[in-house]
């Protein structure tokens, strides 16, 4: 083997490797568009205004991200159960969709550090007598299939027994409809959603019936598990959002009050 062949081989290898290493982050920057999967029936995180334009915390968060990347933001409306298919099939680059970072899910998809944290409350209808989490024992309850609170609520309802049943619905709107009609007696939702729906007055007689004793529901941005470049960038982005006060600003705008702490004491992420 002479020098020419070796050199030629090396150059060829570098070229091939060079092109193959363009990752998702490069693709986003090159394409000029950041496509975010956002759930739009989950106010105040995502919803639509009177002109049917997407609005909410997650929508603004996506636009912030697009801005620092120097690209256009495109909101891809994605129901909760379709977040992974949207990422994997390449319809969206990043999920800005209040995704709880469970270990089970982390086997499939890549999570960033938490960008938001929810606490959960019991939402019920006046006259049902459900006034605390414990009073849900033996009742018919429901929630949005596959959410953090749905999984926790179903587990407790099953453990309590006593004729209680759990119904998973496909969207938040269906849960509120079922609750206002009396099909279910209560649901557990994130406090932000609960207060925004009670305030809106769209469903009569809904009232908050106390806190649900769950751990804070930390939610992360999601991307394909193999896209380390992108995930690293997103981690730094979340850090900067908090550092610059933008996180608090967005929280004030969409929820109000002091934004929840995103760190867990005594451990690193």
């Amino acid at each position: 083997m002479n020098f020419k062949t070796v050199a030629g081989g090396l150059i060829a290898a570098t070229l091939v490797a060079g092109t193959a290493q363009a990752d998702k982050l490069d693709d986003i920057i090159a394409s000029g568009t950041l496509r975010c999967a956002v759930v739009l029936d989950f106010p105040p995180m995502g919803s639509r205004d009177e002109n049917n334009e997407p609005i909410g915390f997650d929508v603004d968060y996506c636009r912030d991200l697009a801005k620092v990347l120097g690209v256009e933001a495109e909101i891809v409306e994605t129901p909760f159960p379709d977040r992974i298919p949207a990422l994997v099939s390449g319809r969206a680059d990043v999920g800005v969709a209040s995704t709880s970072d469970t270990l089970e899910r982390a086997k499939t998809v890549g999570f960033t550090i938490p960008y938001f944290a929810f606490t959960n409350v019991v939402l019920t209808k006046e006259g049902t007598g459900a006034d605390s989490y414990e009073s849900l024992k033996g009742r018919t309850v429901g929630s949005v299939a596959g959410t953090y609170e749905a999984i926790a609520l179903e587990k407790d309802i099953k453990a309590w027994g006593e004729g209680g049943s759990f119904r998973p619905y496909q969207s938040q709107a269906d849960v509120f409809l079922a609750l206002s009609q009396g099909q279910i007696e209560a649901t557990v939702v994130t406090s932000t959603v609960a207060s925004s729906i009670v305030e809106s007055g769209r469903y009569e007689g809904l009232t908050i019936g106390g806190d649900a004793p769950y751990l804070p529901d930390y939610v992360s941005l999601i991307a394909l598990r193999s896209e380390y470049g992108l995930l690293n960038y997103l981690d730094l982005f979340i850090n900067q959002q908090v550092r610059t006060g933008r996180y608090q600003e967005l929280y004030e705008k969409w929820v109000g009050g002091a934004a929840p702490d995103l760190t867990v004491n005594k451990v690193y992420r």
Binding site: F80, V88, E104, R105, K107, G146, P168, A178, Q181, G182
Partner: protein, 221 residues
């Protein structure tokens, strides 16, 4: 590009749960067919009746059942009736929706089968001294089922596949409900739904096969 690593082991571990779901799916499909066939025969007779009080309601049922989506019918059984204070559980709402749909389609199948039986046969029976009901029961009904049998199995397969719409009204125990729940927990969307699809295929095929066998036994000339 499709960037995803398939992990079939995780999906196969969920197979027992999914098979339980498949049983519930079968149960709903069979119940909806048994009730649906009964109603459909009554509807078919009513649509051929002279009295408009029988004909019109039956026609209205068939028109709505055949010309609106099954999803709409199931949604109406749950949320539609719910707004009038009538609460059907997801199971009952799904069963009611599919039965309503089945009855509408099968009515037309049976009506066609009824038309295919020459009226002269009934007249021959009557002239031998049979009553109207007896002639209908002994001459018309057996032939009607023979003619309508294969189209009916078609509806049975359709009923099985329609049970998957139950998730829209909070159904969690049928095959799609179980799959959706597992999907939410693990995010193994593609494996789980591929497996569910294969199960639906097997169930539908098994039903077709059983129907062919039954037809061969029952309707030999």
């Amino acid at each position: 590009m499709f960037e995803y690593t398939f992990q079939w082991r995780q999906a196969f571990r969920a197979l027992p749960q999914m098979l339980d779901g498949a049983l519930v799916t079968m149960q709903i499909a069979v119940l909806s067919m048994v009730i649906g066939v009964t109603i459909a025969v009554l509807l078919a007779v009513a649509r051929n009746a002279h009295s408009p009080w029988l004909r019109w309601p039956a026609t209205a049922w068939v028109e709505v059942a055949r010309n609106t989506p099954a999803l709409f019918q199931i949604y109406m059984a749950h949320f539609g009736l719910g707004s009038f204070g009538i609460y059907l559980s997801p199971y009952v709402a799904l069963l009611a929706g599919i039965t309503f749909n089945n009855a509408g389609y099968l009515c037309e199948t049976f009506r066609g089968a009824l038309r295919a039986i020459p009226a002269t046969q009934v007249r021959a029976g009557r002239s031998l001294g049979m009553g109207q009901v007896m002639a209908f029961r002994l001459i018309v009904v057996p032939q009607m089922f023979r003619i309508a049998f294969l189209p009916t199995t078609n509806q049975m397969v359709w009923a099985i596949l329609m049970t998957s719409l139950g998730v829209t009204v909070g159904m969690s125990t049928d095959l799609t409900g179980v799959t959706q729940d597992l999907n939410a927990r693990t995010f193994r969307t593609f494996e789980l739904f591929a497996l569910a699809g294969a199960l639906y295929y097997c169930i539908a095929k098994a039903v077709m096969f059983a129907a062919r066998l039954a037809a061969w036994r029952l309707f030999r000339y």
